[in-house]
């Protein structure tokens, strides 16, 4: 299943990144992280004396977390929004559906197409964030160096973006197969899916009460949800409906 999906993903990723809009998304994400880092690192320093180093660390984790854990799910969600309805709009879906791909291979191909660039961008984004925060601390408050990311924040920023992106992607693939125009899928991606998902997630996992146990359960639940959602996408995938619905 993986081999065919990989053939698909390799070709599709190349095509996806020929679009200027898609290329802009990582740039925006990097820019956002840079601005967050450059703004909050010095802004928070004066309050360290009052609230203590501990609190500074938590505040940085929350603020930077939004941009290194949440934002990277944007790109995969956007790519996935286009995945099926985009091919339908560009009339390339029929030959693909007529090829020997199984439903699982086709959907996994679409999933990888959206996920792989997302993970690369997420990790690059994390590196950028860490470099700017600690680069600034080195000059303005060397005693606070490596206060962010803590080990917990680091693990969080490594495991959650892929899990979160996979969730957004599976959801968007399902939606992409059920709308009839690409822009509808984008609208749903932007407002209906990503925003609420971000809010709920921010509440739960970037809050001050985050600890290892919560992190572990969060990751496990999200992982199970990913698998469940992928299975759902597979069960809902229906060539006849895709072809006959206008």
């Amino acid at each position: 299943m993986l081999r065919k999906a990989w053939i698909m993903a390799k070709t599709e990723i190349r095509m996806v990144f020929k679009s200027r809009q898609v290329k802009m998304i990582p740039v925006m994400i990097f820019l956002m992280t840079s601005v967050f880092a450059a703004l909050f690192t010095p802004l928070m320093i004066p309050i360290v004396a009052e609230v203590g180093v501990e609190f500074y660390s938590i505040m940085m984790a929350m603020l930077m977390g939004t941009s290194v854990v949440m934002m990277p799910a944007m790109l995969p969600a956007m790519i996935a929004a286009d995945s099926i309805v985009g091919e339908k709009e560009r009339h390339t879906l029929v030959p693909l559906l007529a090829s020997p791909l199984t439903d699982g291979e086709l959907l996994l191909g679409k999933l990888l197409t959206a996920l792989i660039p997302g993970i690369i961008v997420a990790y690059a984004n994390l590196v950028i964030g860490i470099a700017i925060v600690n680069g600034m601390l080195l000059f303005i408050a060397p005693t606070l160096l490596w206060i962010w990311p803590s080990l917990l924040a680091m693990v969080q920023a490594l495991i959650f973006p892929p899990l979160l992106a996979a969730f957004a992607v599976c959801l968007m693939i399902i939606i992409s197969g059920r709308v009839s125009k690409v822009y509808e899928a984008y609208q749903i991606a932007g407002f209906v899916i990503i925003m609420p998902m971000f809010l709920v997630f921010t509440e739960l996992f970037l809050s001050t009460s985050i600890n290892w146990l919560l992190l572990f359960f969060g990751a496990a639940i999200l992982g199970i949800a990913d698998i469940g959602l992928f299975q759902l996408a597979r069960n809902l995938f229906n060539r006849d409906k895709l072809i006959s619905r206008v």
């Binding site: 190349r14 560009r90 007529a98 020997p100 199984t102 072809i243």
Partner: protein, 313 residues
């Protein structure tokens, strides 16, 4: 001969619309089968069901001994498809070669074979000089050629072509027809093609089926269908000089022809039992002093069959 495509009681509905109704059809291995019929008759729908894109509402479809519902992947691995409006179905963000490579890999064509196959097809279809261009920059005919190359990239034993020569110029159309004929003859590939070009079907297809309003109305070889619909034969006769009306009345006077009429100064008559009657008719004309330049049979073509089968409905 073994059956490669078998439709049994195939019905496909889209809500209230019955696109295909109770179609029973067998296509044999190595055959070029032509599917003919007016717009909206159900040709493309039949192809879509046979290629696993649509699910039959009722009935069964077996392609290469695999049921389309039970083993769709096995069916898809055996077939090539040039879809309806195939010209528009390419990835504009890939080059011509990349489009073909992509599908070649999806069909598991080994790497070395794939390159040769691509070169061969592009050469044959006269697309070699555009191999690194995006199909987005192509004329409709060039895109159609690329669709054909894609349908054949994996050398499939069963090929479905939905109006393959639409948008192709006459010379390329003929080349493609010859190619199909060669493939069907030599390597025993089976072709199922929809077409509106009756002369194409006549020259290319071993058998044709006529579908109208979702129902299969006639199946047979072009020659068989002609024989079936034409028990009488039509002749036309041209005079060097003299009055066609006079000739007409002479033929009528013999009472040998079923009907006589004048078309463009030619006398057109219909007879049965030609061997006995034609010499008598000719003798009567010659004895009346008329000079005959030409006497020839009007052989009905597939278009006449079509008009009779479809037009009569």
């Amino acid at each position: 001969m073994t059956t490669t495509i078998e439709l049994k009681g195939l019905t496909k509905q889209f809500g209230e619309i019955v696109a295909v109704q109770d179609v029973d059809l067998e296509v044999r291995k190595g055959e070029v089968f032509g599917f003919l019929g007016p717009n909206a008759a159900g040709k493309s729908t039949t192809v879509k069901v046979a290629t696993t894109l649509l699910v039959p509402t009722r009935g069964t479809v077996v392609v290469g001994s695999h049921d389309v519902l039970e083993e769709p992947e096995s069916v898809r691995a055996l077939i090539g498809l040039l879809p309806e409006d195939g010209a528009d179905t390419h990835y504009d963000r890939l080059t011509t070669v990349e489009n073909l490579e992509y599908f070649g890999r999806l069909y598991d064509v080994p790497k070395e074979t794939l390159q040769n196959r691509i070169d061969e097809l592009l050469e044959f279809l006269e697309l070699s000089d555009r191999r690194d261009d995006s199909p987005g920059t192509f004329s409709t005919g060039l895109k159609q050629k690329l669709s054909l190359a894609r349908a054949l990239i994996h050398n499939p034993p069963i090929v479905f072509l939905d109006e393959p020569t639409s948008n192709l110029d006459p010379i390329m159309s003929r080349k493609v027809r010859e190619f199909i004929q060669q493939m069907a003859g030599g390597s025993k590939q089976t072709f199922f093609m929809c077409t509106h070009l009756l002369s194409e079907a006549e020259h290319l297809c071993d058998r044709v089926g006529f579908i109208s309003h979702g129902r299969l109305v006639e199946v047979g070889s072009p020659a068989d269908l002609r024989r079936k619909f034409w028990t009488q034969r039509t002749f036309e006769l041209q005079l060097a000089t003299g009055d066609p009306a006079k000739a007409k009345s002479i033929v009528e006077a013999t009472s040998l022809a079923t009907s006589v009429r004048i078309e463009n100064k030619r006398i057109v008559f219909v007879v049965e039992k030609v061997e006995r009657k034609n010499p008598q008719i000719v003798r009567a004309l010659v004895e009346a002093g008329l000079a005959i330049v030409e006497l020839r049979e009007r052989i009905p073509d597939l278009e006449d069959v079509y008009l009779k089968v479809i037009g009569g409905k």
